[in-house]
């Protein structure tokens, strides 16, 4: 298998484990899978970095990702199959990076097999479209506003993770690299928050594939200028939603996200100033 195809498979496996973790409401088990997914994300960045260094072209295309399951045991079974398939795709050479991937995934397989046999099997309700949040009384308009926000913003956070990850593959500035990493991990947190809420509402789904034009761009400066506008738009949406849901805990959460966006804008302005200084 070519390394760029391997990158696609790694991307798909990361998403399968990540969204599998979101689909599980038991936080302890969900956290185990989430940690595994974050290790898979790191694999993806190491693989992408090595491809970029070798001058091999790669992209974020992905196929159907099989992570929807009726219960925990079925999900673990699906993830086991996909990890085993990934294990078979690595080259046979002694490359230290692939040896690390294999060792990590050997452990994931052991743990998933253990969980499949020993934990109480529970149904997964993350896809039932109930659109109800336990402990919150939202009317139809509030529910619809929250639904649309979660779909739009979960896609956006996924997009930001991948765009900044891609930009990092080709950045030699320590300052930019640090800013992008901060933004990536902020988006990981937002994606987790939004997707877990989507799972509770029964509307969890993997974001659509990004078009190449979104991340393979020539003009980083323009990307940052547009990005600042988008962050400002996202802030507005957060505030609108916080006011609309009119529920203390839920509104506070969206104000908290809104405040985090302020810092993202500052980070992007800093990156922009650095680029202008350099040119």
């Amino acid at each position: 298998m070519s390394k760029s195809k391997l990158f696609q498979q790694k991307h798909e496996l990361w998403l399968a484990i990540l969204f599998g973790s979101f689909s599980i409401l038991d936080e302890e088990i969900s956290d185990i899978l989430y940690d595994f997914s974050m290790i898979e994300y790191r694999h993806l960045t190491w693989l992408g970095g090595s491809l970029a260094q070798e001058g091999v072209s790669f992209d974020y295309d992905k196929g159907e990702i099989d992570f929807q399951a009726e219960d925990y045991a079925t999900l673990f079974g699906k993830l086991i199959v996909q990890i085993e398939k990934m294990r078979e795709s690595y080259p046979d050479d002694e490359d230290i990076m692939f040896a690390r991937f294999k060792s990590d995934e050997d452990y994931f397989l052991q743990k998933l097999n253990f969980l499949q046999k020993h934990i109480k099997n529970e149904p997964i309700t993350a896809f039932d479209k109930s659109r109800k949040l336990e402990h919150y009384k939202l009317d139809q308009t509030q529910t619809n506003a929250l639904t649309l926000f979660l779909f739009e913003e979960s896609y956006k956070e996924y997009e930001l993770i991948l765009v900044y990850t891609y930009a990092n593959f080709f950045t030699d500035s320590k300052l930019l690299c640090g800013i992008f990493i901060d933004l990536i991990y902020e988006s990981h947190f937002h994606l987790k928050s939004f997707a877990r809420m989507m799972a509770k509402m029964g509307i969890l789904s993997i974001p659509r594939t990004m078009m190449e034009q979104v991340y393979k761009f020539d003009d980083l400066e323009k990307f940052l200028i547009d990005g600042i506008k988008e962050e400002e738009g996202a802030k507005e949406e957060c505030v609108k939603l916080a006011q609309m849901v009119n529920h203390e805990e839920l509104s506070n959460f969206f104000y908290f996200i809104n405040y985090q966006e302020n810092y993202h804008i500052e980070l992007m302005r800093k990156a922009l100033a650095h680029l202008k200084e350099k040119s």
Binding site: K129, T141, N144, L148, E152, I203, M211, Q213
Partner: protein, 147 residues
């Protein structure tokens, strides 16, 4: 943003599982509908059996309205003739006057991408080497331009 009162289960299902959202490698035709005001765009890919649309897929840079519209629109055209598809797209654009402006742009991008794919198909059939054809959205459709 979509009409908050009218968010039906069917709409949610298209948001969770957009139909035909993919690229076709080596398509028979490829069209792009573009909104120059915000750089949003829709790409439509066609795979034909004679004049019948065997496969139609789309990809987009845009909001959920665009994705849901693309999902519904492409689903309608699988198995139809290109002539029928053209009528559907034109009727679709004509009916957009009844929807809010933000959704109008999304719908128009999808329908224009399909019409652009038909222009690209004609060009290819007449021997022109052209990867894709682009139509820019506008209410009076007067600013169409070739990429």
């Amino acid at each position: 943003m979509a009409d908050l009162e009218a968010l039906k289960d069917e709409y949610i299902d298209h948001m969770m599982h957009p139909r035909n959202y993919a690229k076709i490698e080596n398509p028979d035709a490829k069209g792009i509908g573009k909104n120059p005001q915000n750089n949003e765009m829709v790409e439509i890919y066609l795979s034909l059996d004679g004049d019948v649309i065997e496969k139609i897929t789309f990809m987009a840079i845009g909001c959920m309205d665009t994705i849901v519209t693309g999902s519904i629109f492409t689903d309608m055209l699988v198995g139809e003739s290109i002539q029928e598809g053209e009528s559907v797209a034109e009727e679709f654009i004509a009916n957009l006057v009844n929807v809010p402006e933000s959704q109008r742009a999304c719908g128009e991008m999808v329908a224009k991408a399909f019409l652009a794919a038909l222009v690209n198909l004609n060009h290819r059939r007449s021997g022109k080497e052209e990867d894709s054809y682009t139509l820019i959205i506008s209410e009076d459709c007067s600013t169409d331009e070739q990429k």
